[in-house]
């Protein structure tokens, strides 16, 4: 009985190239527990997922099955056997700092 965590390609270098990690359901009763368990096992993941004061980074998204935990109970969201947690990076960027002014006239 376990919970699976899916690791995105950029973070697999910190999990020994594994693309999915199984956690015992007993040790992963909530999303927060699961992420704590994961980063305890793979310490290098920690700085990519959390800020120095322990908050989930703004460009890290966690999905429980197909739902964003932002819209559930965040890290308090309860987990059950066979649940799948996915770490999904926010992919963002844009051009140089020489920004064009936004046109607000129509």
């Amino acid at each position: 009985m376990a919970v699976q965590v899916i690791i995105p390609t950029p973070l697999r270098q910190y999990t020994g190239k594994l693309d999915r990690i199984e956690l015992e359901a007993e040790q992963a009763k909530t999303v927060g527990d699961a992420l704590a368990g994961l980063t305890a096992r793979y310490a290098e993941l920690r700085r990519h997922l959390f800020t120095e004061d322990g908050k989930l980074r703004s460009f890290v998204n966690i999905y429980l099955n197909d739902e964003d935990i932002r819209y559930l109970q965040k890290d308090q969201t309860p987990l059950h056997d066979n649940d799948v947690l996915s770490i999904v990076p926010s992919i963002a960027g844009g051009l140089t700092e020489d920004l064009p002014l936004r046109c607000i006239c129509h």
Partner: protein, 180 residues
């Protein structure tokens, strides 16, 4: 320099053309998409280009995921954001077919194909970041970049153009649009 650490990105002519067309179509906004394929230790081979919508067109929803510092200066014209929900679907589908996310592409309308400080700030390690310049609506130079391991800068990644991949029976075409 660790340039030798970077595997070349192998991309077919028609895949690159798909990116060029996507970039031109979205001009003057930024386009974005995902590169799926296989990495075998010596190269990253692109098998599919998946064109995605730039979530910055939906300013309110984008703001929930990754707030902009100055929404008056920043918009879909100079920022892109891939909807994490879209990316989850793409990743799931890729995994079922034995493919992985090799990286991402986006356009710089009327700006060079070089990563900005903003690009660096939000970049993830290992992934290829293909940037294409679009000058007055015409797709121009392109380049691929990888974040340095200490996150201090982007390093250029070699791109090799290959023959067009011929999908086997049952395999999807190289380019898919997840929005229209």
């Amino acid at each position: 320099m660790q340039l030798t650490d970077h595997m070349p990105l192998l991309i077919a002519h028609d895949q690159l053309e798909a990116i060029r067309q996507h970039a031109a179509r979205e001009y003057p906004s930024e386009c974005c998409g995902v590169l799926l394929g296989l990495a075998d230790g010596s190269a990253k081979r692109v098998r599919e280009v998946v064109a995605l919508r730039n979530l910055r067109h939906d300013a309110a929803r984008a703001q929930e995921f990754l707030p902009l510092a100055d929404p008056w200066q920043e918009s879909e014209r100079n920022r892109y954001l891939i909807d994490p929900g879209d990316l989850l679907k793409v990743e799931k589908d890729a995994r079922q077919r034995g493919l992985e996310v090799l990286g991402y592409y986006h356009s710089h309308p009327d700006h060079p194909a070089r990563p900005s400080e903003y690009d660096r700030e939000y970049a993830w390690p290992w992934c290829s970041y293909v940037i294409i310049n679009v000058a007055e609506g015409r797709p121009g130079d392109y380049a691929s970049w990888v974040l340095a391991s200490d996150r201090s800068r982007f390093e250029p990644e070699p791109i090799e153009l290959t023959e067009n991949h011929r999908p086997e029976k049952g395999e999807p075409k190289e380019t898919r649009w997840l929005y229209r």
